[in-house]
Symmetry: C3
Subunit: 488 residues, 3 copies
């Protein structure tokens, strides 16, 4: 069991031990204590969350509490929060016997991820060098959710094949890599990427795929019986799909500019998503002899429009532009589920449980390029002089940048996110191959029994068993009079 | 199979072909492409979502971005969005084998509906005749969700008996009819109907019932085994119920006047809903010999209070007035489920799967009349001079209208919505009887297998089968020694 | 059946009659009518929800509708509303055959509770003595939801063992007791408790435990087969867990001060919850031989951090302070589920179905004391002069109170809430022992069949039965040729 070969790889071939009784509590405790210490040293409330807000208001001539950033962003924050925990979590309940792991491990790693993200993003983006402190507010919480999303996307590729300890490692490095690539893309390259087509989806998708490639399991077919859904698990997964779909306008607009920025981003995302549903359905139906729909496509491809609008939604892409993006993404993503995922598994040795390639990696990458094109096409006549500056932040050391140049940097940013995902994922994958993490055997993947206390019976069993027992009794009556049958 | 007779009706009697592999993708692609073209010609961002917002602020002396309509309405919009996709969608998962169709087709038609609604409502309400453009913002998105709700309500009556292509047709015409009746009721008759008792629920309910009447299936009893719930599907449906129930205050207040308008509407709706739950429970319990509750009533009748407050909630109906409305609606709606739905099916040939008659049609109609009475009873002493004008928009060409006249117009508006629902539904029903839409046979309704790839096993089956296999082995031991039994 | 002894207790020993056909409708109707009358006499819209808002704005120099309290609090209100109905409701669906009762009775009693709470809290807190009216707005709705939460927590301890009529009684008295203790704690003792560690969770938890103690069922083991979850019911419960967890920042911040108050409270709660997840997972994993996780802990203990931050979250507890609180609560709460709940049942005769002792009572109590310590440690150097006054409301007759004194009063408030819970619960428990309420027999607890029309089959049964029938036929072939077996 395992992906073995002679020589130094023997190290990796001991029989699988899925006992995480020491490693999981150790990781949780040690890392959480580390968080407390680092928060103690670095993290403080920012001026809008501190009791000195009263004085801040006076000194900044703010006339009303409603100007506190909390009221601009908190509703969007809560929507994003729902996407991270219910959206991603329930989307991953679709497997017949891995719903606990899908929603439960997502809960665990996201809870760790947001803490680590507050630190990592703080160090890179908002550290006050005079005091050495990171000052956090509601926008920091949203960014932490975003940052964690990258690792949750990677989990989608790994679903059912890794241990919770491995997932914690994926998150630790995922958040770290995210903060670095985000710094390069947003600060050094000065890209705009409010909804994170590049920094979140493209990075997270390729990160997960690269890890999955390194962790390739040639004998995964031994768990094939569990790698599928049942009727009700598919309905549970629709909870995840719909909350992601509905709140995606909030996701993309959560940290865009106050006023028209948030407003326009929400509209564009809403339109792209609506359009994406129709083409996903169309391709799904075309792919079956009798036009039946496949729940995998409905659960996933319908969301690709939101992913692809993560960069361009805050630009003046126009409402019909948004519809066109959604239109294409529904087609591309559904084709991905139909043809590319099997291809990846067969020829590139990438096992991608949730198909993050089609939902995040490719739509994210395309979203980055769509953003680049939209930015390059920007002009003062469309945006207005002030609008152009505020939309692209052509201020400070970037005040001479033109839309054309900006488009080039946006495209470069997309490449940076792919590179970080692939290289980072490959390295993290190697770490995860150490035989200390308690990952499941090839014939035991997609199975909650490995890491969860699973209740014994479905409620439908008692009557059936009773029925069978009744039969057994009759059976035994038969047996006893004629043969000797051992009791079961 | 089918509702056949001699003569010209033979056309309708060919054996059912549920293959939608051509028609569904064709409809999705062609209509989506049409949307893109029409959006390209007509739809633009409004001044609050456009990058020129900075200049707009200056020219209108707006001091803060928080005055952007986005911040007044976006949280309500998201709640409404949840109602449309999760609320309506999951409420329709209650059937034992039609949960995919319930939530999935709802997702499809709502995604198309909102796009078409932005155009239709735009042409009727917000088209700028000087530029020929429709300028959209967050309020447009809410209105589009509202407009689509009418068709989703109609789907409730048709659930399990129609194909996805037929549902797209229902939505296309539903949205169109909605926009027209809304224009007549709100613009020509100058009615107030913020939460849409008349324009949404009354219209949508009668629209669905009329379609269902034309599509009457005399042999629907052949699918009777599937026309019911199982334990977990009822729990899924409660997700829909609760999200509808909780967010109904947002639904009714989403497009009411800023300030006291939204505030009062939310309070009234909240109270009517709370009251409605108690009387629904009471009647449900009374209707059973031992006082047991029926999930159908809890899932549906508890919402009737929100429907009936769609018009009056923004008026000064008083908190106890709201409670009274909810009180009566719980009783009426539950009685409807107990007695009227069976009556409609038996004597009026209307098969109403979800009972939209009791949840939308009647409470919507009564809500229209409650609105009329509340409007007629309005007075300056209660509303204040300015309050009366702003609540009823007695401005411009309507500045001489009295509350009494307004009441009369409100009642007339309700009648218009009923007429549009009944006549429009009957015509659309005739279109849907063409034998080209791929609708299911009478013995194949309420069955996801027809339009969905359904996973084969429930997770509870493997252990049971294993158990049975074990028995079979024992059995075969027995058999082999005595008889010849063919292997199953 | 029942907890019987000789003498006067014979009164309590008649065979159980679970027919609620008279009592449940009677309670619903009479109490709802009482609500309507009392609302008619007492409840009016406040100045921000009344049509006179236009004039109010002018007379108070309010320049924008966005200053209406609706926009400060409505998004938080909706989140709290979701917690009350979906959060509490779905958390209680975890039992294999009591999901209808869990979510359905929660719906019923919360709908009654919020109405009664508006009255009770109005009389104690906001009655205008000059007009004799209670003026309500969005903050009243939030407070009503809070007040009801106390009774819903108590329901957690009683889940599956009481009738809906008893639950209505629990709510009637629970809301009443809540309003009194809240008045003592917040108004007389002038404690701060925005998120209700003391007034909601500590009170509610001990209230439920005391009732459960008086209603002790020595023969509850007769229902043991039903006192557990199945796979999908655990996934349903995760919906409840996650919506509670995600929206807890809104819960604690819903009625804190505008501006920094709401902002800081949300951040602190978010951090405590994140930290709590990691330690809950750690202890859960440590408690099992192979490190497997227990869904009970993940569903419940992960929330304890939010409970414990209910008082201190609005203070300057610092971000790392919040993490420490969550860290400890995850440990304490999970240990509670492992050791204290069995201990309570065995030695103290307290049957606590959902473990509210570990999720609400103890974390609430500790949250009260954490609040006391944090308050006592407050200083002008940290809070600023104005910040200290506004955070603790050191105004009016309390303007000379010091943080140290405030800490003492906070601790006293916690004791008041415990006393109210225990004494009130014991008294209510005695009332509930009257044999008129229709509660279930000891061998019939945790069973929806008692109070609900339950659909007959799971969808998984038909194929299995068919299979068995096939076997029966074969079996009968065997039988008929050799023996005489009676048909089942």
């Amino acid at each position: 069991m395992g992906n073995c070969a002679q020589g130094f790889k023997d190290f990796f071939c001991r029989p699988k031990n899925t006992n995480v009784r020491v490693s999981l509590p150790a990781v949780c405790f040690v890392w959480q204590i580390a968080m407390i210490i680092l928060f103690g040293v670095f993290i403080r409330y920012n001026e809008e969350a501190d009791t000195h807000w009263v004085e801040h208001k006076k000194s900044h001539n703010i006339t009303s509490d409603i100007e506190n950033d909390f009221y601009f962003r908190y509703p969007s924050f809560q929507d994003v929060h729902v996407m991270i925990f219910v959206g991603f979590g329930f989307l991953m309940t679709f497997l017949k016997r891995y719903s606990f792991g899908g929603v439960g491990f997502n809960f665990l790693i996201a809870s760790f991820g947001v803490q680590w993200a507050l630190l990592m993003q703080g160090w890179f983006h908002t550290l006050d060098h005079s005091t050495g402190k990171i000052y956090i507010g509601v926008e920091s919480l949203i960014n932490a959710d975003f940052c964690t999303a990258g690792s949750l996307i990677a989990y989608g590729a790994l679903l059912g094949k890794v241990s919770p300890v491995q997932l914690m490692v994926v998150t630790l490095f995922g958040v770290t890599l995210f903060a670095v690539e985000e710094y390069i893309i947003l600060s050094l390259l000065h890209c705009r990427d409010a909804g994170g087509s590049m920094v979140i989806h493209c990075f997270g998708g390729y990160y997960g795929l690269a890890i999955s490639w390194v962790l390739y399991r040639p004998k995964l077919h031994l768990s094939q019986r569990l790698n599928g859904s049942v009727y009700h698990s598919d309905v549970f997964a629709m909870i995840g799909t719909l909350f992601l779909w509905m709140f995606w306008p909030s996701f993309n607009s959560a940290i865009t500019d106050h006023g028209d920025g948030q407003h326009r981003t929400a509209i564009n995302t809403y339109l792209a998503l609506a359009s994406c549903v129709l083409t996903s359905v169309a391709i799904s139906s075309m792919s079956q002899k009798t036009g039946k729909l496949d729940m995998v496509h409905i659960q996933n491809a319908t969301l690709a429009g939101g992913v692809a609008m993560g960069t361009a939604a805050e630009f003046m892409i126009t409402p019909y532009g948004a519809l066109i993006v959604g239109f294409c993404m529904g087609i591309i993503s559904t084709f991905g589920y139909l043809f590319v995922t099997p291809f990846l598994e067969k020829y590139l040795k990438i096992q991608d449980t949730c198909g993050v390639h089609n939902l995040h990696a490719v739509p994210g990458m395309l979203g980055g390029f769509i953003g680049a094109i939209t930015a390059a096409a920007a002009s003062e006549s469309v945006y207005g002089k002030e609008g152009l500056i505020s939309t692209f932040d052509f201020e400070g050391s970037f005040k001479d940048r033109t839309p054309g140049t900006q488009g080039g940097f946006q495209a470069a940013g997309t490449c940076v996110s792919i590179a970080f995902g692939l290289v980072g994922g490959a390295l993290v994958g190697l770490i995860l191959r150490l035989p200390i993490w308690g990952d499941p055997a090839d014939d035991n993947c997609f199975e909650d029994e490995v890491y969860w206390e699973v209740p014994e019976d479905e409620e439908s069993i008692p009557p059936v068993l009773e029925y069978n027992n009744h039969m057994i009794h009759k059976h035994q009556d038969i047996s006893e009079s004629n043969f000797s049958v051992e009791q079961s």
